[in-house]
């Protein structure tokens, strides 16, 4: 009904074209030095936060739970991947760069380890209702931090340096597409509906045969995997890891992005992660007020629009195109911000 095969393929082709166009334009701009190093840095950071925010939306927006340990999963991914890339190397295979393969494998390994941690912590935690889950994930994040501080392989409190600067726009963009596509395709399936039904009413969901624990774990594991991936990208972006990087405040920043963008809106998460990463980078005066403004935003948004600014509304390139072509009499609006093309998957 909502999507049949034909319209799905149409939309997929449209979105792929948009993404490709966006990718080529940005790559060209980087190559032609229109975007200097400062801007590409911000761009990378934006993509890293987008990945983390979209994955958090899976547990927060769709599953309706409140995990406060997202940064913990990121740190697992970051350290795992960093340890792998600093210790191993893969020789180049013809045109394929060994470095790239290694980075890809390390990132996947980071994601998988984060996912395993997510399942291990999720199995007991998810038996508990809402606020206990929040506190247990928070506790988990802190335990991870203490562990990282105290074991040798992560460099302990001194931190871990010498990590290669592998994260570029290409990788960031690739993983962004991955997380957006995965989340979108999962959410619009029987499994995704089951996840959403848990958010809506656990007792009713159970009564129609939804295995609560299973779907909580699925959402949790998926979110943890991509959190690990974004952690890996983060590690190879800043090249130096210290335990303080992934504190409670980082988990909260992710939460602000998700809540502000809309609980259950992928495009909302993308937009708010983009805005909330760029603004403090560009406006230094804002940076010092950042946390105060974030906290006020949290409270105000919750009181006046508890589902977040976009609610569960999704931007859609296909819808835009349809609008433009159907209503010819109106002056067709050009897609105002072309960049959002990649962010709209429906």
């Amino acid at each position: 009904m909502r999507e049949n095969r034909k319209s799905f393929f149409g939309r997929t082709i449209l979105n792929t074209c948009l993404c490709l166009a966006f990718f080529l334009i940005v790559e060209y701009m980087i190559g032609a030095k229109i975007l200097n190093r400062y801007y590409t840095n911000i761009l990378n950071l934006v993509l890293i936060y987008v990945i983390a925010a979209v994955s958090l939306n899976l547990t927060c927006g769709y599953l309706g739970q409140l995990p406060l340990g997202h940064a913990g999963f990121m740190s697992i991914g970051a350290y795992t991947a960093a340890i792998i890339t600093t210790r191993f190397s893969i020789p180049d295979l013809g045109p394929i760069s060994g470095e790239a393969v290694l980075f890809l494998l390390a990132t996947i390994a980071g994601g998988i380890l984060a996912m395993v941690a997510g399942i291990v912590i999720g199995l007991p935690a998810l038996r508990l209702k809402g606020d206990y889950l929040a506190i247990i994930t928070l506790a988990f994040g802190e335990i991870i931090r203490v562990l990282v501080q105290n074991i040798k392989i992560t460099g302990g409190a001194m931190g871990m340096g010498g990590i290669g600067r592998y994260t570029g726009f290409g990788w960031g963009f690739f993983w962004t597409i991955m997380v957006v596509a995965f989340t979108f395709l999962l959410v619009n399936s029987r499994h995704g509906r089951a996840i959403k039904s848990v958010r809506e009413d656990e007792i009713a969901a159970e009564s129609v045969g939804i295995n609560l624990t299973y779907y909580k774990i699925v959402a949790f594991a998926g979110a943890a995997f991509f959190a690990g991936v974004s952690g890996s990208l983060f590690a190879h972006h800043i090249c130096y890891l210290e335990p303080g990087n992934f504190g409670y405040n980082m988990s909260i920043e992710m939460l602000v992005m998700v809540v502000l963008g809309g609980l259950g809106s992928i495009s909302g998460s993308i937009i708010s992660a983009t805005v909330l990463t760029i603004v403090p980078e560009v406006l230094q005066t804002f940076a010092s007020w950042k946390m105060i403004i974030y906290s006020l935003l949290l409270v105000v948004v919750m009181i006046f629009k508890p589902s977040g600014l976009m609610g569960d509304y999704e931007l859609s390139a296909a819808r835009l195109v349809r609008k433009v072509f159907r209503k010819k009499e109106e002056t067709p609006k050009l897609p105002e911000n072309y960049t959002e093309g990649e962010e709209t998957d429906e």
Partner: protein, 281 residues
């Protein structure tokens, strides 16, 4: 209306329960023996026994606080029983999770409607069809053929179920925005989507006016006949209970005080006392 003639008489079966004639030779869809539950020190349900034939409509009635909804919660294992056995189609339900009970063939509605309010009517029904669909997460994310086949079949099935209550035009609405009566009907459709052999209705007529209640009565009978399933309902509206039920169980203070056909129950002095108090008061 000559409802008496529509009803098949209840006859005793070897297990000691009464059953409709056409269900006598079949495994009862539900059999409860010596069911009991304590909350803290309080005995909420005690020595609850009943059996339900495959196509029987039974009523569970009793004053407020008698433990009727508790019995439903015990049947779906939302609350674990302290004592006794519940058997669905002859299978013991002990130690099963509520979602497993649903797969065994028990579906229910709730006293305070519990819909997935922010999801569409169609999605609500499709969540009911969740276990009818067979495709893995991988198949979903890669959009393999099984995804499309299952989804399109379940779309049709969901609309077919909605059309049972003439609700197919509302498929795109948000469930929370439906009018009250439609929400109650949607809950029933969602329950039917799980392909149950026993449907539990918790006060289906609550908040309905008399004409809606009559419609509901017809619908309950239609559900039984077309899906050929058993229905157990909790209801305060005696017209509905007496009009639609084959057998009735009366509960008071967690205990069964009377069992039988509507006619027996209506004239039972114990029941009258439980509802109205002692005559000399």
């Amino acid at each position: 209306m000559n409802r008496k003639q529509e009803r098949s008489p209840l006859v005793p079966v070897p297990s000691g329960f009464l059953m409709r004639e056409e269900d006598v030779d079949k495994t009862p869809v539900l059999e409860i023996r010596h069911l009991g539950v304590d909350f803290g020190g309080l005995v909420a349900v005690e020595d609850f026994n009943m059996a339900l034939g495959r196509t029987e409509i039974a009523g569970l009635i009793g004053p407020n606080g008698a433990g009727k909804t508790t019995v439903f919660n015990l049947l779906t294992n939302e609350i674990e029983p302290t004592r006794g056995i519940i058997m669905i189609d002859g299978y013991d339900t002990r130690g099963r999770k509520p979602h497993e009970i649903c797969r065994m063939g028990v579906a229910r509605t709730f006293q305070n409607i519990r819909l997935f309010r922010n999801m569409t009517v169609l999605e609500n029904v499709k969540i009911g069809l969740h276990n009818e669909m067979k495709y893995s997460i991988g198949e979903a994310v890669l959009r393999l053929p099984r995804y499309w086949d299952n989804e399109s079949i379940s779309d049709m099935r969901a609309l077919e179920l909605l059309s049972f209550f003439n609700m197919q035009d509302m498929a795109g609405w948000k469930a929370g925005s439906l009018p009250y009566g439609a929400q109650r009907r949607l809950e029933i459709v969602r329950a039917l989507a799980t392909n149950p052999s026993l449907l539990l209705l918790d006060e289906p007529a609550a908040g309905m006016n008399p004409s809606e209640t009559v419609e509901l009565m017809n619908n309950i009978r239609r559900i039984r006949d077309e899906f050929s399933i058993a229905i157990l309902l909790i209801e305060h509206d005696m017209n509905l209970v007496m009009g639609v039920c084959d057998g009735i169980v009366v509960l008071n203070y967690g205990k069964i005080i009377a069992k039988g056909s509507p006619e027996d129950i209506m004239s039972d002095p114990v029941v009258i006392e439980a509802y109205l108090g002692k005559a000399d008061q």
